[in-house]
Structure formats: structure tokens, C-alpha cells
């Protein structure tokens, strides 16, 4: 059990999350392997973002446990969590850059908070290196408002890797970007894994991105795991839900419900 555990960096055990009476995650158990890229796919509202926020304990589970390096973290106090969180980087869907700070100040925020480095030249060097890694060196003095959507995400990624974390959690990294900018992000995720050996957990509904970057794909549906395997096995999954998601088709039931409502409108209009 233990030797097997050593390959896993993060483990979720019977995770359930309820908002009021609604169970967004329903008894999910998962382990994430060290140095691999795991992609969690699923339609909007299936609980992907909620799941990824539990890994860094931005949300606390209603039931179940979260382990990092085989130590339970979901019951830790915020102060104790600080240390765990410095070992993880979180890329928010919107980027969540501090808009009152420049790009450089944004990247140096975690560095200033958690290290004793105060030498101006050294700090600038760190910011430059991180920005170069995402291909945005020279943008140090820009404010986030001046950046495009893709640039914001890249700066946010540079900030997420500022403390050289073991894990990076990506929340919909390619959403809202055009296909070329999406591919830039995909390449960055692959590069970070290759160069720095970073473990990545990516939440997305972009199938193209998922197949490109994933070592393993997990499909969530209605708060439960619907499928789990590499890109190929997901493509060949017998599950109707998975196939519909991959092909981007809606279910018969949904089509029927839409037709019913249109017909209602027509008949009401005639009356």
C-alpha cells in the first residue's frame, strides 16, 4: 500500500461537497501521480472547479479527505495550510491577477510573502526568469488591464510558478482564448512538465487541449467519475455520456425538452 502510495502526490478519498442540498461532488476518490499531467474533463457545472479547489483546500469538503504527500490537509488550519499552498500553484480561470500591481509586482508577490529575498536586483532577476519562461519578458511594468486574455493567463502562470511549486492546478486554462493562444498555453503546460518535472492537474472542457497534454484523463459527470484512462481509452469509451461530450452532442432528452418548450410557445401564441 505504502510503496504504491509513494507514486501519488495527491489523494482524494470519498470526497463529497454539498452546497445546501445540492451535492456537487458525490463520493469522488482519486489519486494524482507525481510528475504526470492529469486532465479532468466534463461539462460546465459538473463540479470540476469545485474539485480542483478542494485539492488546494480553498474549499473544505462536506465529507471525505484530501491528502498531500500522504498527509491529510483538508482539516488543517489556514495558517498550517499556508505551507502546503506554497508547494502548489493555482492558475485561476480569470487569471486573478492583482490589478493594482504591475506584472512584476504580481509575480513577486508570493516571493515577497514567503522568502527572505529583498535584494532588488535578485528580485528583478526572478521576475525576468519567470516571465521569460512564459514568453513575456519585457512586460514587467505593464498593468494587468493592458494585457490581453492570453497574456493575463501567462502572467498568472508565471506567478503560479514563482515559488517553484511541485504541483500546478490549472482551472480552465484555455477557456476564452482563440485556438492559437490556447495552443500556447498547452505548450507551456507540456514544457513545465518536461523542464521542471511539475505535476499538473488541469480542469477543462476543451477536448483538443485535453488530448494534447494529458497523461491521464478523468471525466466527471454530475459529481461522479464517469471515465478514467489515457486519451485513447477515453476516445474509445463505451459510455454514452463520454462519447456525447467528446463529440459535443447533446442528449436526446435535452433535444426533446427544447422541442416541447418551442411547441408550447407556438400553441400559446395561436391561442
Amino acid at each position: 500500500m505504502n510503496s504504491e502510495n509513494n507514486n501519488y502526490l495527491i489523494t482524494l478519498k470519498n470526497l463529497t461537497k454539498r452546497f445546501g442540498k445540492l451535492a456537487v461532488l458525490d463520493d469522488v476518490s482519486l489519486s494524482f501521480e507525481k510528475g504526470k499531467t492529469t486532465v479532468i474533463i466534463g461539462p460546465s457545472g459538473c463540479g470540476k472547479t469545485v474539485l480542483i479547489k478542494h485539492i488546494i483546500v480553498l474549499l473544505r469538503p462536506s465529507e471525505g479527505e484530501v491528502y498531500f504527500h500522504n498527509e491529510r490537509i483538508d482539516n488543517l488550519h489556514e495558517k498550517q495550510l499556508a505551507k502546503v499552498r506554497t508547494q502548489m500553484g493555482f492558475l485561476f480561470q480569470s487569471g486573478a491577477l492583482f490589478d493594482s500591481m504591475t506584472v512584476e509586482e504580481n509575480i513577486l508577490f508570493p516571493v515577497m510573502q514567503h522568502t527572505k529575498i529583498r535584494d532588488r536586483a535578485k528580485l528583478q532577476e526572478i521576475a525576468k526568469a519567470k516571465l521569460a519562461m512564459v514568453g513575456l519578458d519585457g512586460f514587467q511594468e505593464y498593468y494587468p488591464a493592458k494585457l490581453s486574455g492570453g497574456q493575463k493567463k501567462r502572467v498568472a502562470l508565471a506567478r503560479a510558478i514563482a515559488l517553484e511549486p511541485e504541483v500546478i492546478l490549472y482551472d480552465e486554462p484555455t477557456t476564452g482564448l482563440d485556438p492559437i493562444r490556447s495552443d500556447v498555453i498547452n505548450e507551456l503546460i507540456i514544457k513545465l512538465k518536461k523542464d521542471l518535472g511539475i505535476t499538473s492537474i488541469v480542469v477543462t472542457h476543451d477536448m483538443k487541449s485535453a488530448t494534447k497534454i494529458a497523461d491521464r484523463i478523468i471525466m466527471l459527470h454530475k459529481g461522479r467519475i464517469e471515465a478514467d484512462g489515457d486519451a485513447e481509452s477515453i476516445q474509445n469509451s463505451p459510455s454514452q455520456v463520454v462519447q456525447r461530450f467528446i463529440k459535443g452532442e447533446i442528449s436526446e432528452g435535452d433535444i426533446q425538452s427544447m422541442q416541447v418548450s418551442f411547441e408550447d410557445i407556438k400553441t400559446n401564441g395561436k391561442k
Partner: protein
């Protein structure tokens, strides 16, 4: 589903309301306790000093003009309003006591605080509220930093320390404003004006006026930051949080003022006899 909704009785609605209120009170109390501890910790950690300085500039220095204008008008209005009655009794030279006492004890502190609740409180709620809805506060947490310590503590400390100072400015301009209307405009004898003022206004009066500032400052920062941290999503959510923040701090300022007046009066009465001013 619709049937279930119909079955909700008035008692259940009342119960839900009570539970919500108790939850909100608990959340507010926890937020304030956390802020208090975080502020105490921030005072002894040099890392946060630069943040406090920045907030002092935004909250304190940039508020000086509006607070001074508020104070000046208060003094001037009081002079015009009270003159006729006092002149009718032939005691218009006592005008200075009335104006200066009202300004330093009540109107200066309270109106300066209300002005700050609008200027500073509104800005705090809007800023933190926007950070909240754009996930910036969660980003602070995700990077292992306590957002209360990083965002609330410097604002709370700056408000707490600078509101009394701003009240001194309001008092000062209130006194000047009252003087300018009373002496040059209403032709009251300058020497008599100041003599009566000096005998009527005690150090105690000025002290309690300034002491109120600490409480008002804490109330403004506490309520505004809380509202910003807990605002609902969207532009409407931020707007609503600002309104609630301002109304909340305004009411709390008046309530605290009432409590402090009762307390300070009891302290005064237990030490000194009541002094008649006329």
C-alpha cells in the same frame, strides 16, 4: 417542486430568517476577531509597515481636504444659526462656547467620521469587493497568504490611527469657520469670544472628541472590509455591498457615539461636578 414551495409556512420563513441573521452575526464577529488579531500581529511585523504606509496615504492624507471642508462649514453654520437667539438674550459673546463645544465634542468627530465612511469606507468596500468577485482574494489565499492579514489589517490600522488625526483637522477648521463668521461677520468682540470659549471648552471635551475617532475609525474599516469580503457576485453585488457598508458604518458610528456619550458623561460626573456654562 412547486408543491414543495407552497408548503413553506410563515414559521419556516421566520425560522430561516433567524438562522440567516444568527449566521451573519457569527460571521461578522469572527471576521472582526480575525481582523483584530491580524492587526495586532501586523503591528509587530515590519513586513507590513509599507502596506500600512500606503493605506495611510490613501485613507488619511488624501482625506484631509474633505474633512477640513466639512469642519469649516459646520462651524460657520452653527454661528449663523445660533447668533439670533443669543443676541436676543444679549449674550451673543457666549457664541464661541456654543460653537466650539459643539464642534469639538460632537459635530466635528461625528461629521468627519460620516465623511470618512463615505470617502474611505466606500472605496474600501468597492476595492475589496471587486477583488473578491474577480477571485483576487482567493488568489491571495491560494498563494499561502492570509488575506485578512494582508488586506484588512493595514486598512484597519490606518483607519484606527488616522481618524482621530482627521478629527483634529475637522475640529480646527470648525473653530476657524465659527470664528470667521462670529467675529469679522457678526461683529462679536474678539477678546470676549475667545475668553468665553477658553473658559467653556475644557481639555476633557477635546480629548473625548478625539478619543471617539479611534472607535469610529475601527467601525468604518471593520464594516467596510467585511462588506467587501462578503459581497455577492457581479457589479450589482459590489454596488450593493458599498451601499450596505456606508449605511452600516453610518448607523454604527451614531450608535457608538451614543454609547460613548453616556460612558464619558458618567466618567466626567464621577470626577468633576457639572459645570454650568451660562
Amino acid at each position: 417542486m412547486a408543491e414543495n414551495q407552497q408548503k413553506v409556512t410563515m414559521i419556516e420563513l421566520f425560522g430561516a430568517g433567524v438562522i440567516r441573521s444568527v449566521t451573519n452575526c457569527g460571521r461578522f464577529a469572527r471576521f472582526q476577531t480575525d481582523s483584530l488579531f491580524a492587526s495586532a500581529a501586523a503591528c509587530v511585523s515590519p513586513k507590513t509597515y509599507s502596506l500600512i504606509w500606503n493605506q495611510m496615504l490613501a485613507i488619511g492624507v488624501l482625506s484631509v481636504p474633505v474633512v477640513m471642508i466639512t469642519g469649516a462649514f459646520v462651524g460657520m453654520v452653527l454661528a449663523i444659526q445660533a447668533y439670533d437667539q443669543l443676541a436676543g438674550l444679549g449674550i451673543e459673546e457666549h457664541l464661541g462656547v456654543l460653537i466650539n463645544l459643539s464642534v469639538v465634542k460632537e459635530l466635528g468627530p461625528v461629521l468627519a467620521a460620516v465623511m470618512l465612511a463615505g470617502r474611505v469606507g466606500g472605496a474600501l468596500t468597492a476595492e475589496l469587493g471587486t477583488m473578491n468577485v474577480t477571485e483576487q482574494i482567493m488568489a491571495v489565499r491560494s498563494m499561502g497568504t492570509d488575506p485578512i492579514r494582508y488586506l484588512v489589517a493595514p486598512r484597519l490600522i490606518a483607519c484606527l490611527l488616522l481618524t482621530p488625526v482627521l478629527i483634529i483637522y475637522a475640529d480646527f477648521l470648525g473653530i476657524i469657520g465659527g470664528y470667521l463668521i462670529s467675529v469679522p461677520y457678526l461683529d462679536i468682540n474678539s477678546r470676549a469670544y475667545w475668553n468665553f470659549s477658553a473658559s467653556g471648552v475644557e481639555l476633557w471635551d477635546i480629548t473625548i472628541g478625539i478619543a471617539k475617532g479611534f472607535f469610529f475609525g475601527a467601525a468604518i474599516a471593520g464594516v467596510s472590509c467585511y462588506k467587501g469580503f462578503h459581497c455577492r457576485e457581479g457589479a450589482q453585488g459590489v454596488g450593493q455591498a458599498c451601499t450596505e457598508g456606508f449605511v452600516g458604518s453610518f448607523i454604527i458610528i451614531l450608535a457608538i457615539d451614543f454609547v460613548l456619550v453616556v460612558v464619558f458623561k458618567a466618567i466626567y460626573a464621577s470626577v468633576w461636578p457639572v459645570k454650568l456654562l451660562l
